[in-house]
């Protein structure tokens, strides 16, 4: 069975999704979703522990060998991303039960879980496959189900937000498929490894830079790189709370992975950064993303929207690391990929708890919650400290590596701007904390602490924030190894 792990990782959720849709019982379909995500976590851990040492697992679908058939290919890079996705899913799914019961109409819940599992399937599939067209297929699976999930939000605006996301996401996917098509025309292959061997021969043509441009824009859209992030704030704000927590912590991360895979593995770092000089575009955009969207976040009145803008800023940090095009920078970016999933997951889950009890996530609705929902708000504070980058939290680890990488590249001012971004995070997190802890609560609204079924997953993530902030050994080891693989450095 362990030989089939790469494909089972995707197939088990793929089978679970239609079953969840067929079963009209809320509890059962939820249980199936839990099972699927826990399976994914188990499989992800199995894969990661196999490839940690540097081994590469290749699985030929249908028995067709690599360049002809679809190949699933796992190395430290995607095993890492798979683990992130699976870990977040296996915490977010248990959390979703109560939250979804409150926020989604009951006759749609089993379909909701079906879409949820499909989204997970798509994200895992993108990460595991070694075939560029397969990437597109799974991208569509995850995106379409994500649109559906977001449209299920309580607010009327959820529908228009999902629609906008659909338009933008589809354009992004279309651009990606155009890029893939151009590459296929020029090389006649869709396998990543094969492409990376054949592409250098046709690098000088016009088609390949154009393909590269389409892919860059497509990925930028999908991962919400400034200024193509405009679909994200509304989608995150109006989606059901559990969906926000899940998607915010995974979807953009997988998009970043796609970008890394194409830039580094398919095109090769030399082409992307030395010939195309994509870093000249990514670095300024990342910095503008960090500063501008943090500033927007400071002005937000809706905390989910605030966190959404903060996510765009955090994506800026990841892309900043990538744009340094060094092992250190990539390590920082990949670390932040994981760490940001932990902190944003925790923060959005905390907001889900508030939504569950208070019914609003506007800042003024937080008044006095520090007393009324102590565990929820304490979790928010820890998550917030992590976003800021306070030591003993994962946020610090990311920032530390990022600043080190920037300094190693001789970019002092970049390191300084990263610090400025942290200070801005202090402001927007503090705005929430101040209202929650220092404003008096409105009298007699009977708000109680969130149910245990939501608090436990939330605190699992909070604990992970602290644990991996203190003991960063595993995360840095894997991120470094993944960065080395991407840069083509063997150690």
């Amino acid at each position: 069975m362990s030989d089939h792990l790469p494909v089972l990782l995707v197939v088990v959720p793929l089978i679970a999704a239609p079953i969840a849709a067929l079963i009209r019982s809320v509890r059962l379909s939820w249980l199936i979703a839990c099972g699927a995500s826990w399976w994914a976590l188990y499989a992800a851990w199995g894969l990661l522990s196999r490839v940690r040492g540097g081994e590469v697992i290749s699985y030929a679908l249908g028995g067709w060998p690599a360049p002809y058939g679809i190949e699933y290919r796992v190395d430290a890079v995607n095993a890492w991303v798979i683990l992130i996705v699976a870990a977040i899913a296996s915490v977010a799914t248990p959390y979703a039960y109560q939250s979804v019961r409150r926020e989604v109409e009951s006759d749609r819940v089993s379909l909701f879980y079906s879409a949820w599992i499909l989204c997970l399937t798509g994200l895992l599939g993108i990460s595991v496959t070694g075939d560029v067209f397969n990437v597109f297929v799974f991208l569509e699976i995850s995106s379409l189900s994500a649109y559906a999930l977001i449209s299920l939000g309580q607010d009327r605006r959820a529908l228009t937000s999902a629609y906008q996301y659909l338009i933008m996401g589809s354009i992004g996917a279309t651009f990606i498929v155009i890029g893939i098509g151009l590459m296929y025309i020029m090389t006649g292959t869709l396998n990543m490894m094969d492409l990376s061997e054949r592409l250098p021969a046709v690098m000088d043509t016009r088609a390949i830079p154009v393909a590269f441009a389409f892919l860059t824009v497509g990925f930028s859209l999908k991962l919400a790189l400034f200024p193509l992030h405009l679909w994200l704030p509304n989608a995150y704000t109006f989606a059901p709370s559990a969906v926000t927590a899940f998607i915010a912590a995974t979807a953009t991360k997988v998009a970043v992975y796609m970008m890394l895979r194409f830039f580094f593995t398919v095109f090769g770092a030399a082409f992307a950064f030395d010939v195309m000089q994509v870093d000249l575009i990514l670095l300024p955009l990342a910095l503008v993303a960090i500063l501008s969207t943090s500033l927007v976040a400071i002005h937000q009145q809706n905390v989910k929207r605030l966190l959404a803008y903060s996510s765009v800023a955090q994506i800026g940090y990841m892309i900043l690391g990538v744009s340094l095009a060094s092992v250190a920078g990539l390590t920082a970016g990949l670390l932040h990929l994981f760490n940001h999933a932990l902190m944003k997951g925790a923060l959005f889950m905390a907001m889900g708890c508030v939504m569950y009890r208070v019914g609003s996530v506007r800042i003024d609705a937080m008044a006095g919650l520090g007393k009324k929902m102590p565990w929820t708000m304490a979790a928010f504070v820890v998550g917030g400290l992590s976003i800021i980058g306070v030591p003993l939290t994962v946020g610090f680890i990311s920032k530390w590596y990022l600043v080190q990488a920037a300094l190693a590249a001789g970019l002092w001012w970049v390191a300084a701007l990263v610090m400025v971004g942290s200070l801005m995070a202090v402001i927007y997190i503090w705005r929430v904390v101040e209202v929650a802890y220092l404003s008096p609560a409105p009298d007699g609204d009977g708000v109680a602490e969130a149910p245990l079924a939501m608090l436990i997953p939330l605190w699992v993530l909070v604990a992970a924030n602290v644990y991996f902030g203190v003991n960063a050994g595993l995360t840095t080891e894997v991120a470094t190894r993944a960065a080395e693989i991407l840069m083509g450095v063997t150690s």
Binding site: P209, F212, A213, V217, P227, V296, L407
Partner: protein, 570 residues
């Protein structure tokens, strides 16, 4: 030594336990934890341990050596005395919060001095601020809330500087180990020095101390006075011993606060100023860098924690018993608070460095070291400051609180635990002052004997102090001495509490009140930046609004064209 553990762990555990227990159990924990921790340090083996490899750097949680152990003993002692002093607190006074944060605060200080690398140091550096601010906030007044906030901001800033310095040093030297740094002209060394300087209340960065300590609770000030600045002194002694600039900084620190202290009305703020003055002696000693100088500095730090703690305890008792702390409201309390008055005099004698009191044993080391190194001017300034400190801390505090004009307030001595705590400190002051060579000098980090009690030292110091007192008597007789007035005196904080809010004013309601015409061009430019930022980033601003799908598509198209052009142009 029974268990080889970094000392902060025990204190942290105690802090958490104090938060969840009540009554006698908590009181026992409060007293037992510092005692056990302190005993556990006795006979501890030197050398770094509890080291963890993270990302190619070594974090060292426990590095006992001569220097750090002295502070280790000191902080346990201070925690014990402070806890004893605060033992009576009731729930109305925020006992849980104060007890718990006091232990955590002491633990952070211990963590910082035993940290073997700059990153661990930084973590505890920030924890110092975050655990202690509750001792200010527990006062529960609007003013203390705001003060606590300013305190926090300044200390977080100090931490950020330390971290930046550490990162830069890691880049330059490849190591984050905390040893002698010295000013070699590199940016990292400067940032770390500034960070330490802020915490040590260097001139112009000193204001957080006189701003926050007087606003803390009656018992909280005792802890605050013991830890934060002493950790900074430890840092300077470890990292910057022998940096000549510190000699002059220290000299300035000894001199300028005493002017403020003379005209300050809030007696705890007077103590704050005299604290800066005492730290000045330590900074000078560290700057001299000789064995005598650094020994004197850390010895003075040791003594300062005890006698300044004692003075803060007596003033805390006065505040608790009368509800007042301004010199203009007090007087004649010796009648009803005789014990407190007596302890206050012991503390005053110690800080003034009277022979047989602890200050004498350490202050004279620094001054002797200054002379040895040939710093005549600095020595004269120190001498001036030594006379001045007697004037404001040695005479002014006891005189205006306990003697002088009878304010008519009738009260009693504070509860027994407070008296006992003060009594222990007072005894320590006298014992260390009388037998320094048998007590304090034995745990000093550097070799080199020093004998404070020779005829010259005793005579000259007594002359200095007596004639200082004579001046006080004369000034009172001729009514030259400034009366205690209900007032405050502006200090550096004026810049950020008065000037800055009126200039920047970009935030909140202030902005509408201030007429833009007054501001200079630079300020209006800054305002424009903020305004532009807000316009685009707030509410329905350019970058914050929900965009129509069509406009988003336009962006996509523009970017695509841009990228293609860019790539093809390669």
């Amino acid at each position: 030594m029974w268990i080889d553990l970094p000392p902060f762990i025990l204190l942290f555990v105690g802090g958490v336990l104090a938060a969840v227990t009540r009554g006698t159990l908590r009181k026992s924990i409060m007293l037992a934890v510092p005692i056990l921790g302190g005993l556990n340090l006795i006979g501890v083996e030197h050398g770094a341990r509890f080291q963890y490899e993270v990302a190619g750097q070594t974090l060292t949680l426990f590095r006992p050596d001569g220097l750090s152990l002295l502070f280790g003993y000191l902080f346990h002692l201070a925690a014990f005395i402070g806890n004893l002093f605060a033992l009576h607190l009731t729930d109305e006074e925020g006992a849980t919060l104060q007890h718990s944060s006091a232990l955590l605060y002491a633990g952070s200080a211990l963590g910082a001095v035993f940290a073997g690398d700059l990153i661990t140091m930084f973590v505890f550096w920030e924890l110092l601020a975050f655990t202690s601010v509750f001792l200010i906030w527990a006062r529960g007044t609007e003013r203390s809330y705001r003060t606590g906030f300013r305190y926090l901001v300044i200390h977080v800033l100090s931490g950020v500087l330390l971290l930046s310095g550490a990162i830069i040093r890691a880049q330059e030297t490849g190591s984050i180990e905390f040893g002698n740094i010295g000013l070699d002209g590199s940016l990292g060394a400067w940032l770390i020095l500034i960070s330490f300087g802020i915490k040590a209340a260097f001139p112009l960065a000193h204001n957080w101390l006189t701003d926050s300590y007087p606003e803390s609770t009656a018992t909280g000030a005792v802890f605050l006075s013991a830890f934060t600045t002493k950790v900074a002194i430890y840092g300077l002694a470890r990292g910057y011993a022998g940096t000549e600039m510190l000699v002059y900084i220290g000299a300035v620190m000894t001199a300028f606060p005493i002017f403020y202290a003379v005209i300050e009305n809030d007696l705890r703020r007077v103590l704050g100023y005299s604290m800066i003055n005492q730290i000045g002696f330590m900074v000078t000693g560290i700057g001299l860098g000789t064995a005598l100088g650094v020994n004197g500095a850390v010895a003075h730090a040791f003594n300062d924690v005890i006698f300044k703690g004692l003075l803060f305890m007596t003033m805390g008792s006065v505040l608790r018993q009368t509800g007042r702390i301004n010199g203009s409201d007090l007087g004649g309390l010796y009648k009803t608070m005789p014990w407190t008055a007596a302890f206050c005099i012991v503390g005053a004698a110690s800080i003034s460095a009277f022979p047989l009191f602890s200050g004498f044993a350490s202050k004279s080391m620094v001054m002797a070291a200054a002379l040895e190194e040939g710093h005549s001017i600095v020595w004269l300034v120190l001498l001036f400051a030594a006379a001045g400190v007697f004037h404001h801390a040695g005479i002014k505090i006891p005189f205006f609180a306990f003697y002088g004009h009878d304010s008519g307030i009738r009260t009693t001595d504070p509860p027994k635990n407070m008296l006992v705590a003060m009594g222990i400190s007072a005894v320590l002051c006298i014992v260390i002052g009388t037998f320094p060579e048998q007590t304090l000098y034995r745990i000093l980090p550097f070799e080199g004997g020093y004998h404070p009690y020779d005829v010259t030292h005793v005579l000259t110091q007594t002359q200095l102090l007596f004639f200082g007192a004579l001046a006080f008597v004369g000034l009172q007789k001729f009514h030259i001495y400034p009366a205690e007035l209900r007032s405050i005196n502006i200090d550096v904080e004026w810049l950020y509490r008065w000037v800055a809010p009126r200039i920047v004013g970009g935030v909140g309601s202030l902005v509408s009140r201030i007429d833009g015409a007054v501001r200079g061009t630079a300020v209006s430019a800054a305002r424009r930046v903020i305004a532009v930022g807000s316009r685009d980033h707030a509410g329905e601003g350019l970058l914050a609004r929900t965009w129509p799908t069509g406009s988003m598509l336009l962006w996509v198209a523009i970017l695509l064209v841009g990228y293609i052009t860019f790539y093809l142009a390669r």
